[in-house]
Symmetry: C2
Subunit: 199 residues, 2 copies
DNA sequence: TAGCGTTGCCAACAAGCGTTGACCAACAGA
DNA sequence: TCTGTTGGTCAACGCTTGTTGGCAACGCTA
């Protein structure tokens, strides 16, 4: 009866470390993998628990519900650099390389993309990330701030489309491209979406 | 014991019309809507049957299984025009407008996109459509046919990314753009992906 | 050593799923 | 009018799901 609050959503060193921290982290890692591989519905709590070598009821105890676990597993920080300190003609290229970096290094974004498409809460989460992390970049870079939403949306479409075909649908040509090829092709597109005066 | 074959997947006037054709069509329409709205797992046969005001067992009788129903509901023809008859500098613009047309008029593509992301069979279906319908266009238009897969994949990424943000995730700026705005922004991108000599 | 909160497992629950087979009503051809 | 086919409903099946509560072992503090 002591811990009514089910989930410690902020895992960044807040209070005393618990003995179960390793278990919690294991569940979270397994959840991210499963969500990324299977989407929200097919990623069952039982499967996640099995991956983490733990009983399903532990998942419930630590994260309250499947929704809670999902929320904890898909808290994403795009780690956006400060684009205002970059030469204007290089923002497109930097945006592509940065996204490729972030996407390759963790399965969280693939998980989020997969879930955002089946699950209402997932879609809402993606809109939040878009508004809080990509939109400010466009606002700081594009010529007329009033156009920032449009320009950011165009960039999001291009970047998410690449991620979709490359990491989720696995279209062979898209999956086989090297990072450099992708950068060379997409950088001018994003550059134009962000900084061109008119379409 | 007469009709072992459960589904008439080709509905285009092959044999004598049956009394149940309306029911079949109703099921298919309801299935497309549900698949588009909910994705593969959440679109239950029971819900589809309810929408079509029919018993769930009828769905099984006419389409064999949920997989069969899905296959019938997402047979997509992109109706690609003959791009070789179009002035070379207009293929980008035509490609955008054509895709917007196809996407707006039927929910099938949204259904396919949603399902292609959670379901293995759905992803396979999308790769087929890509290879059979978009790839030939690139092959006929781009300068070096060996680059056609890459160029087609880039176009697919841009188009699908737009569809994703506009129809599925519903990013407000993307969903609110007019067809003309989208065309103006995306046409040069696709034009470059298809016809530019180098990135 | 006793007490207590924490960590974990086990067994079960109710609900929902795809799927099946028995059964009835309407129709068409003889 | 009889008979076989077709269109459709109903009730149930076996299974999986998220979720819950009880219970045993551990580790700390007094």
């Amino acid at each position: 009866m002591t811990d009514r609050a089910p989930a410690a959503l902020t895992d960044t060193s807040d209070a005393a470390p618990r003995r179960s921290d390793a278990t919690r982290a294991g569940i979270l890692a397994a959840a991210r993998e499963r969500f990324a591989a299977d989407g929200y519905e097919r990623a069952t709590i039982r499967a996640i628990a099995k991956d983490a070598r733990i009983d399903p009821s532990m998942v419930m105890r630590y994260y309250g519900s499947k929704e809670g676990l999902f929320a904890a597993a898909t808290s994403v920080d795009l780690r956006m650099p400060d684009f205002t300190r970059v030469p204007r003609e290089e923002v497109g290229r930097l945006l592509v390389t940065h996204f490729l970096d972030v996407w390759e290094d963790a399965g969280q974004l693939t998980a989020l993309l997969r879930v955002g498409i089946t699950n209402q809460a997932g879609a809402e989460r993606m809109r939040e990330i878009f508004a809080q992390q990509l939109l400010p970049v466009a606002r700081g870079v594009c010529p007329d701030p009033a156009q920032a939403p449009t320009r950011a949306a165009l960039c999001a479409a291009q970047v998410l489309g690449l991620a979709l075909t490359r990491y989720v649908l696995r279209f062979p040509p898209s999956a086989e491209l090297t990072g450099e090829e992708i950068t060379d092709w997409l950088a001018p597109t994003l550059q134009r979406y962000l900084t061109a005066d008119r379409p």
